[in-house]
């Protein structure tokens, strides 16, 4: 059996540190703690399996750690941020963070995100086939089926779905999606993207108004969950 994954927690508030540690250790994970940016950056050398990072640290912006880490590692990063700081979240995600949690957050939410990121990171080979709900997406054959019957998608809708499914469980900002699917010249056409996602939901979700796979991250972007 492989050793339990190690989580690096960088957070200056003792109360939050304490309950996050309790929650993670309750799941059998090991926790490394840092209370400031410098300590956090130093502990990345211990090669944790995941980083939970508060963006507002006493000695600097957590963003610096993400940029630093991304120069040499793909370790998943979950950032903790304030609710009304959309711009900050977007910058963090564009800099390489994988997910975010808005303070205050619940233990259940935290653990679900941590598990999803660990799982995602452990998958070293992409399977060509992804199944979600009653949909089967075969990326090697470029085919989307519902219960065996083909679902007609336009080439762009297919590309969007393929792009998102290859980055499942990660929050993708509007800009990342637009540049990834449409190209760098289109990174401002957010309304266009929204219309495409709405169309995709109508074709793939059983209740498009309450989607379960193509999730909206309000003000930030989208997340694909299988």
């Amino acid at each position: 059996m492989s050793p339990a994954p190690r989580i690096l927690l960088v957070e200056d508030e003792a109360g939050i540190r304490r309950f996050v540690r309790l929650a993670l250790e309750g799941e059998g994970l090991r926790v490394l703690e840092a209370t400031d940016l410098r300590g956090g950056i130093r502990l990345t050398a211990a090669q944790p399996d995941l980083v939970v990072l508060d963006l507002g640290l006493p000695d600097g912006d957590g963003m610096a750690l993400i940029r630093d880490l991304r120069t040499w590692s793909e370790t998943p990063v979950i950032v903790l941020s304030a609710r009304d700081a959309e711009a900050q979240k977007i910058v963090a995600l564009d800099s390489g963070a994988d997910d975010y949690l808005v303070k205050p957050f619940g233990t259940g939410e935290l653990l679900a995100r941590v598990r999803a990121q660990l799982r995602r990171h452990a998958r070293d080979v992409e399977e060509p086939v992804v199944s979600f709900g009653d949909i089967r997406l075969d990326r090697s054959r470029r085919v989307v089926e519902r219960n065996g019957a083909p679902v007609p998608l336009t080439p762009l809708e297919y590309r969007l779905l393929a792009f998102m499914s290859a980055r499942a469980d990660r929050v993708l900002t509007h800009r990342q999606l637009l540049t990834g699917v449409w190209g760098p010249a289109h990174d401002e056409d957010i309304a266009y993207l929204r219309v495409f996602v709405a169309g995709l939901r109508r074709k793939l979700e059983s209740d498009p108004a309450q989607p379960r796979h193509l999730l909206t991250e309000i003000g930030v972007g989208y997340r694909f969950v299988a």
Partner: protein
């Protein structure tokens, strides 16, 4: 020399003296000089008079030299009679030549004087524009205008500035001695045309009003009161005054934009301060709450589970922390909306996305509650701040969850008419207190604190504030058949034209 000979009478006297002096000087030489040369000397005198003293004295000199030549030199001397008739031709030619010279010389002199005057005016205008370019307030402008008017026209000047409500007032009342007429000044401003002295509008007035019209609008009026009523009569003078007025107008406009820039700067500063303050409060309140919420949740999930009343207490703490979090979020949003001009992060988006996200976010406290969402296809995009709109829906869902039986469904229905996109949230709870359907939204308005219903008030007040900030409405009604119905209306506006290719909309197979 001409400068010292201002009065016309004196110039004639000087001209006469010159003629007399020439006669006296040439008299002793009369034996030796031929009459032709005497004529030449006289013509020289006429040239001199014309150049130095102007046309009138030159004409007089022309006649008096002809007369003098006749009287003193043409035989018989000392008499105006002439022996030899051919001298009459001499007189005629001499007179004509003298008059032509007088005319030409005086004309030249006049032109030279005008050129000099023009150069002086250009210099004065230049000086004024240089002064104006350094002026930073209307007091300085008033002083500059006054100096210019006095030196160029012998006039007093007053600067009047438009106040934005269509009226003008003296820029610096204390520094002005011009008796301005508010009606005429107003008319000048309204029509952007000169009024008063010498214009078709009230020509008899003692003051001339000139509009100060800059590139964007008329920003004021220049009132000029000449000490001598003829002082502004000439075309040249009016042109100079108009130039002066446009320089002042440009200066006023420049000051206006400096003020605008300063006000904008101030607004940006105060906006920054406000959001920094709110951000700090938000952080300071939320951080301990986040710890409280998380730690209390850890207690509820402790292994082995807490027994008996300890377990219940842990749940109660956690629930209270969750409610407080929601209240603080509402409170801070409300503070942001009410603390000044709101900067919404509005984007065009499908309303279903916001509804879906709000329902997903509310799942944790809606638990297994049935929420039916009905969104017709083809709803127009709405132009909203998604974070705030989601907050509105979250509040309404929260209220519905709190006040209606757990077995009943919550329904969300969207529709669109010509003007607005509408979202209805219906429940089958006890409904709204009769007669207070509107009051429940106003619990936190000033002076209505006595109405405060604990828990609901702030949330609904925030909903209304958010909808208002978007130009929309929210109201609460009794739902037909029982329960409450909240209706949000958002103006449709003009969504951007999205270039979705027709082939795409029709749907083609993915395998391509």
């Amino acid at each position: 020399m001409s400068e010292h000979l201002d009065s016309p009478g004196r110039r004639y006297v000087v001209a006469a003296l010159i003629c007399a002096a020439i006669t006296l000087l040439t008299a002793p030489l009369h034996e030796r000089l031929a009459p032709t040369n005497i004529v030449m000397v006289y013509l020289l005198a006429v040239v001199f008079v014309a150049v130095r003293l102007g046309r009138g004295p030159a004409v007089m000199a022309a006649f008096s030299t002809v007369a003098g030549f006749d009287f003193f030199y043409v035989p018989p001397r000392f008499a105006f009679t002439v022996d030899d008739a051919q001298y009459l031709l001499t007189f005629a030619v001499m007179l004509i030549v003298a008059l032509v010279i007088a005319h030409l010389a005086a004309g030249l002199e006049h032109q030279a004087r005008m050129a000099r005057r023009r150069a002086e005016r250009v210099a004065a205008l230049y000086e004024m524009s240089r002064d104006l370019s350094g002026a930073v307030n209307v007091e300085q402008m008033q002083g500059i205008a006054q100096r210019f008017a006095m030196s160029e026209f012998g006039a007093r000047a007053a600067l009047l500035v438009a106040d934005g409500q269509g009226t003008v007032r003296l820029a610096v009342p204390a520094a002005v001695t011009v008796a301005t007429d508010p009606d005429l000044a107003r008319r000048c401003l309204d029509h952007a045309r000169a009024t008063g002295l010498g214009t078709p509008t009230s020509p008899a007035a003692s003051v001339l009003y000139l509009p100060l019209t800059a590139a964007t609008r008329t920003r004021g009026v220049l009132a000029v009161e000449p000490l001598d009523r003829e002082g502004l009569a000439g075309l040249e003078q009016r042109r100079l005054l108009d130039t002066c007025a446009s320089l002042l107008a440009i200066c006023l406009e420049r000051m206006h934009y400096v003020e605008v820039a300063q006000a904008t700067q101030l607004e940006i500063e105060s906006e920054r301060l406000r959001s920094a303050l709110l951000g700090a409060i938000s952080h300071d309140l939320r951080t301990p709450l986040a710890a409280l919420l998380g730690l209390s949740e850890s207690l509820t999930r402790a292994k082995p589970p807490l027994q008996g009343s300890s377990g219940q207490t842990a749940h109660a703490i956690h629930d209270a922390a969750r409610r407080m979090t929601s209240s603080i979020t509402n409170l801070l949003d409300m503070a942001r909306l009410q603390s000044g001009p709101v900067r919404l992060n509005r984007q065009w988006q499908p309303i279903e996305e916001i509804v879906g996200s709000a329902v997903a976010g509310a799942r944790s406290w809606l638990e297994s509650r049935c929420v039916r969402v009905s969104m017709p296809q083809g709803l127009p995009l709405v132009h909203v701040d998604a974070v705030l709109m989601e907050r509105v829906l979250a509040n309404l869902l929260d209220n519905a969850a709190k006040y209606t039986p757990a077995a009943t469904a919550i329904e969300i229905v969207a529709s669109a008419d010509e003007d607005a996109v509408e979202v209805r949230i219906d429940d089958r709870g006890p409904g709204l207190p009769p007669g207070r359907e509107d009051a429940i939204f106003r619990t936190f308005e000033r002076g209505r604190a006595e109405d405060a219903a604990p828990g609901v008030g702030l949330g609904l007040a925030l909903c209304r504030a958010v909808l208002r900030a978007h130009g929309g409405t929210i109201d609460g009604r009794q739902r037909p058949g029982g329960g409450a119905r909240f209706t949000l209306r958002l103006p449709r506006g003009e969504p951007p034209q999205l270039d979705v290719p027709a082939a795409h909309a029709a749907g083609t197979p993915a395998a391509s």
